[in-house]
Symmetry: C2
Subunit: 168 residues, 2 copies
């Protein structure tokens, strides 16, 4: 339908949902087809996009969600600890937290105790927002669970966790 003989069908197979999505048919993935690293990447992208779609209505980038959850669960946490918990560099929190503060979702308090660090906590509005997002996330997780199957879910979780822990 396009032109180059062996690749033509590639376009049409595999639901054309944006850039990420299913494997493209008619393409030889070579060793990639067997590599965990590549599949981790694709799965993460797919999951991320699905999550973004689920949260779509709520005006808050997906990345902020983990931050809100961690702050909500650990009031008084500092930026550095938060960055490690969320698996991101501490420097990336500066703009993200500034945004959350501007939206009045979190509180950043300098304490006399140690005036270098901030103690982060949720405002009431932040707690409300977190509840809404948690709801969306639960729907997303439900979808994922349906896909992997309730029986394999714990194993998948354990394997992913092992990778994170042992590669760290």
């Amino acid at each position: 339908m396009t032109q180059s003989p062996p690749l033509a069908r590639a376009l049409n197979g595999a639901r054309s949902r944006k850039g990420a999505g299913a494997r493209v048919e008619g393409i030889d993935y070579g060793p990639l087809a067997q590599w965990l690293g590549f599949h981790l990447r694709l799965a993460q992208i797919a999951s991320f996009q699905a999550f973004a779609a689920e949260v779509g209505e709520v005006d808050l980038p997906p990345g902020r969600f983990a931050l809100l959850t961690l702050i909500g669960r650990n009031p008084g946490i500092s930026q550095t600890v938060l960055s490690r918990a969320a698996g991101r560099d501490k420097s990336t929190l500066t703009p993200a937290l500034r945004d959350l503060r501007k939206r009045e979702l979190i509180l950043c308090q300098r304490l006399a105790r140690d005036r270098r660090s901030y103690h982060l906590s949720l405002t009431p509005a932040g707690q409300t927002m977190l509840r809404r997002l948690t709801h969306c996330a639960a729907r997303h997780e439900h979808n994922l669970e349906r896909i992997v199957g309730a029986r394999d879910r714990p194993k998948l979780l354990r394997l992913l966790n092992k990778i994170v822990t042992e590669l760290g």
Copy 2:
């Protein structure tokens, strides 16, 4: 050591390898601890960084590797198809491919057949580079396999693949 009582140990536990890495101790992850999406993200980051370290010596960003592999396996592939296969937006390939072309690793040919699209292929230098990278990637995969265990590897691959396919 730091200050806020319950969070103090968080910094020291869990090898302080950059931003990504193992779970931070002393932190309450709340529902995140059980969410596949979050763990997918962490595992992908960890894997990506480990891969980058493995490939470190070779002067080529990790992201380019999948592109080279796919082009090598599917000579004549177009940018749009390549972008789908690699799970990225087509617009992101423009700078990446320009770089690869500048390094003389790939060939971008306009064919008279359809002068909109390019037919991509590897140069001899590109093939050599691909072989070297494949070697590094194999080491990385070997590490991952050691971590997840040879027995669980196929299952993990299958589950990841299912997520990608069904979320697409």
